[in-house]
Each structure stands twice: as C-alpha cells, then as structure tokens.
C-alpha cells in the first residue's frame, strides 16, 4: 500500500506529541521508525491505524484520505509492543480471530491459520494459551494474528523490545525475510539503531514529535540533515572548539560552529602507523571498552575526548599510551546551517570504510 502523511499533528491537552509530520512510503517498503523515548513514534503508528484521531493533517492510503475511516476498515495489521494477545483464547483462536470476524468458511480459516502457524514456526502450539508461551513465541503469534486477514500495511511497535538480545537478532532476520516474502508495506518502531539499519529499507528518525529525517540507512549515516540525527546515529563526539582539531582550523572562523565527529572518521595509531603523518595530532589513550568485535577507544586530544574504534586484529592500546590521531571528516553545524567538511591537510582522500 502506498502511504502518504501530510502535516500530521497530535496534541494531548496542551502537550504537542506529534508536530507537522509529513512523509511518503512506497508500496512494499520496510520502514524503520527510530527515535528516543517519548518522540512520538507510537502516536504516529496509532494515528495510521485509526486508534487515535489526528488533531490536524491528512493520512492517505493509495491517494485516498482515510482520516475518517475506523480502524476496522483500514486494512492494517498492528503488532503491539506487549503483543496484546487475547489471553483467554488459544494460539489457534488468536490467529483465526481476524478471519472469523469476516465470517470466512471454517475450512478456509483452518487452512490459512495452519499455513501461518507453519510460516511462523508455531506448529504444534495451536492449543496453547498465551501464558504458556515464551516471549519470542508470543511475538510470533502476534505477528501471525496481524497477518491473517491479509492487511495491506503492517505496523509493528517495538516488536522485539521484550526479547533478549540473542533471540532478537535471530527474530529480526526472520522478520525481514518474512516481510520480503509476503511483500507487505511495513513500518516498525525501534529504539535500537542497529536494528533499524540492519532491517529497514528506509529509516525515519523522530525526535520531540518532529520527523527529523527520512532516508536509506546509508543516506542517514552519511548525510545527516540535522545535528540530532548526526548525534543519534553512531557514537559520535561533539566538539565545541573545532579549531583545536588539526586540519579543521579554518572552520573556527564561523562563530558558534560545533563539530560532530563519528568514530569511523577518526583514525588512531602508534607513531608511524598512519600514513598521513603531517595531518595527525598527539593524543593520549584515556579508556578502552571491549565491544565484542572491536575496541571502543576514548582518546584525549588537546583537551577534548574523541571516541573511535580499533579493530581487534591490530595491536592493542593501553590507557595512558601516546598515539597519533587523524580526523578525516567532521560534520559541522551552527544555527543557520550544517555541512560536512573534509580534513584540509589530506592531499589524497582516504578510502572510508564503515
């Protein structure tokens, strides 16, 4: 389903939960809706589903305004954050609910439910009640139940929030494959940027009720349009005095300019390890955090602490060690504008790997 939202607003009393949100989603896309708690993500989903009435603005499905359509007629599947399974019904009855409402013949219902249970790996559980299932199984029941009436749009509100990290990775890969196979337009809310980047075709970032940016994960990562997006994605460092970073001195002439530097754009090495020696600064290792596949390194440079990664294959650092630091690029912004700047001392641009 093609979805368009124009100038959407929602107030609760005098509190503005969603302000002036507009976006468009193409048919079949999987969208990750990302943002900090209280950003208005759930409110947007609920308005799309018709569970909440917008204060103003239009919602269009296939170019037709659906604001006045009740949830029953919108053709939407909704997976709630805590699943909201019907707790006095078996797994079978939960999944069959949307089909029974439509008064489909019994054998058709049976066929569809069984195929969905097969698809979600819940075969053999059809006579269990929700309280007899694990979190991951409940999540899949919620998913099967939402898919049963063949919705045109699937909304998932933090579908993996209550599931532990290990199964989560598994489930989201499974979800992505499943959605690809079914070919249904989907929006899923998450707090977890890795999840959004890994699964979504496009990401929308919401903060304080505003839509900050919408784009492919790559776009958002490479060209953040607002300081909030830049700082939200990745473990970036904010540097208020950009003049102290070698290669960026000229940026300091703009009054009130702040820099945001991503870990990927900072290179550190022992003396002589970095090729562009002329562009490096002296730094001292402050702290090291083990991150499973790499080190997160905090390094002090001219009184600022920068964060970067160091591969496990390379020689390890120790706190207090002297190192060379090279900042390849910085994301600069002031009140009026924001832009990307390359290190001026680099003759040949280094290939950047993310």
């Amino acid at each position: 389903m093609h979805i368009e939202v124009r100038g959407l607003n929602k107030s609760f009393g005098d509190f503005h939960a969603v302000s002036d949100v507009s976006f468009e989603i193409e048919k079949g896309k999987l969208i990750g809706l990302l943002g900090p708690s209280g950003g208005g993500k759930t409110s947007v989903l609920r308005m799309l589903a018709g569970l909440e009435t917008p204060t103003s603005g239009d919602i269009l499905f296939h170019g037709k305004r659906v604001n006045d359509l009740p949830p029953q007629e919108r053709g939407i599947g909704f997976v709630f954050q805590n699943y909201a399974l019907f707790k006095h019904m078996t797994v079978y009855d939960n999944v069959a609910f949307g089909l029974k409402v439509k008064k489909q013949p019994k054998d058709r219902i049976r066929e569809r439910v069984m195929s969905l249970l097969e698809l979600t790996g819940l075969k053999g559980f059809e006579h269990r009640y929700p309280h007899q299932l694990s979190g991951g199984q409940r999540q899949r029941v919620a998913f099967a139940r939402a898919l049963a009436p063949e919705p045109q749009l699937l909304l998932l509100d933090e579908p993996f929030a209550a599931i532990d990290a290990k199964i989560r990775t598994e489930l989201r890969t499974w979800l992505k494959e499943l959605i690809d196979r079914v070919g249904i337009t989907s929006i899923f809310v998450t707090h977890d940027q890795d999840e959004a980047i890994e699964v979504a075709d496009e990401i929308m970032i919401m903060n304080k009720g505003r839509l900050e940016q919408k784009g492919t994960p790559w776009d958002i990562y490479k060209n953040p349009e607002t300081p909030f997006v830049a700082s939200f994605i990745g473990e970036s460092t904010i540097v208020h005095d950009i003049g102290r970073i070698k290669g960026f001195e000229e940026a300091a002439v703009w009054e009130g300019t702040t820099a945001l530097i991503r870990p990927e754009y900072i290179e550190i090495g022992k003396a002589g390890e970095i090729r562009l020696q002329s562009a490096t600064m002296e730094g001292r290792i402050r702290q090291l955090h083990f991150r499973g596949s790499e080190w997160l390194v905090e390094v002090d440079v001219n009184g600022t602490t920068l964060k970067t990664y160091r591969s496990l294959e390379k020689e390890a650092f120790h706190p207090g060690e002297e190192v060379s630091v090279l900042v390849h690029r910085a994301y600069l912004f002031n009140e009026r504008d924001s832009w990307m700047m390359e290190n001026r001392l680099k003759e040949d641009p280094m290939p950047i790997h993310i």
Partner: protein, 216 residues
C-alpha cells in the same frame, strides 16, 4: 413474594447498566475528565448516604404529594408505597456494587486487547462479547451475587418507601421486623432462618466466584 420480584428486577437492571457505566467510565475518552469524575463520585453516593435517607429522598421526590409523584399517580402508576418505589430504593442502595466490581477489572486488562480486535476488523459489539466479556465475566458474576445478597437484606430504604403494608408491600426482611415488633418470635425465626440459609448459600457462591476471578 415481593422479595423475589424485587431481587430479580434489581439484579437484572444493575448488571446491565452497571457494566455499561463501568465501560463508559473506563474506556470512553469522549466523556470529559471532569464529567467522569463527577459520575464517579455519584456512583459512590449510595455508599455515603444512609439507606434510610435514600428511601426518604425517593419519598420526597416521587411521593404522592410531589409534582412528579402526582403526575405518575394520575397516569395510574403508583411509585411510593408500591413495588416500583421499593425496587427503586433497592436499586439506589445496590447500584455501586456492580460498577465498583467491574471497573478495576477493566482497568487492569487495559484497552489493548480491544484495540487489537478493532484493527483485526471486529466492531465494538463483537469485541465486547469475544474479548472483553471473557475477562470480566467472573467479576460480573461476583457482582451479581453481592447484589442479590444486598437486595435480599436491604431494610432501611425499603421500609421507608414501602410503608410496610402487610401482605402487599412486605419483603422478607421487613416481615421479620414486623413479626419481632408483634412479639411473633416463632414466625420471625422461621423467615430469618430461610434468609440466613440463603445468605450462607450466597456466601459459598461468592467464594467460588472470587476464586474463578483470580484464576483469570
């Protein structure tokens, strides 16, 4: 007997309207916050007011000497000192029971299951019977038992409204009172025994309903 008719009418009305009011108070967001608070305290009014005063209020409002009472009587409908008045008095006293039983259950289960049902295409009536009712069922049954017990035993409000006309507007409880007044202790004991036995039965049912309520 009068008592049975009153209990049946009162329980039926209280169950239907009590559950409805509880649903509105908990779920409907089109009712303003202030109005909800007002309704909420109105529901508790019978708990705060003595049953005798409640009965008196009905007499003062609908008695033969008032405008409304006279009008109704003109239409051949006697309220006070007759069955409608007694039913009304019992209703007044027992109304909070059902609402107060069902409201917390509704609050506890939350609106999400109902919202899920609506996104799956179910309209409110269907959702109520398939989703909400199974969750509040035992709360309602417990409320019914309590209402029956309370209507059986109600004395104060009914005595004021009924006028206690022998064999016409007499309930089991007022009959006991009457018999004791007339030193007819044996008869009073008989009726009281029946009432007590019935209460014991209700108590057992209450325990049973409470247990089921906790299971779900």
């Amino acid at each position: 007997m009068m008592t049975v008719i009153i209990v049946i009418i009162v329980t039926a009305i209280n169950t239907v309207f009590g559950v409805m009011l509880a649903l509105y108070l908990v779920r409907a967001d089109w009712i303003g916050q202030k109005l909800k608070r007002l309704l909420n305290s109105l529901v508790d009014l019978p708990f705060a007011v003595s049953p005798v005063i409640g009965g008196l209020m009905i007499v003062l409002l609908l008695g033969p000497n008032t405008v409304i009472g006279a009008l109704l009587e003109g239409a051949g409908f006697k309220v006070v000192y007759a069955l409608p008045g007694m039913t009304l008095a019992t209703l007044f006293v027992t109304f909070p029971i059902m609402v107060r039983e069902v409201m917390p259950v509704l609050q506890e289960i939350g609106a999400q299951q109902e919202e899920a049902a609506s996104t799956l295409g179910a309209y409110p009536w269907y959702t109520f019977w398939r989703v909400t009712w199974p969750s509040i069922r035992w709360g309602v049954i417990y409320g019914v038992v309590l209402t029956v017990a309370r209507s059986l035993g109600e004395f104060g409000a009914v005595l004021v409204v009924s006028g206690n006309i022998i064999n016409k507007t007499q309930t089991a409880t007022t009959l006991v009172y009457q018999d004791v007044e007339n030193f007819n202790v044996a008869a009073a004991n008989g009726v009281a025994l029946v009432l007590a036995a019935f209460s014991a039965l209700l108590l057992l049912m209450m325990e049973w309903a409470k247990k089921r309520k906790e299971v779900h």
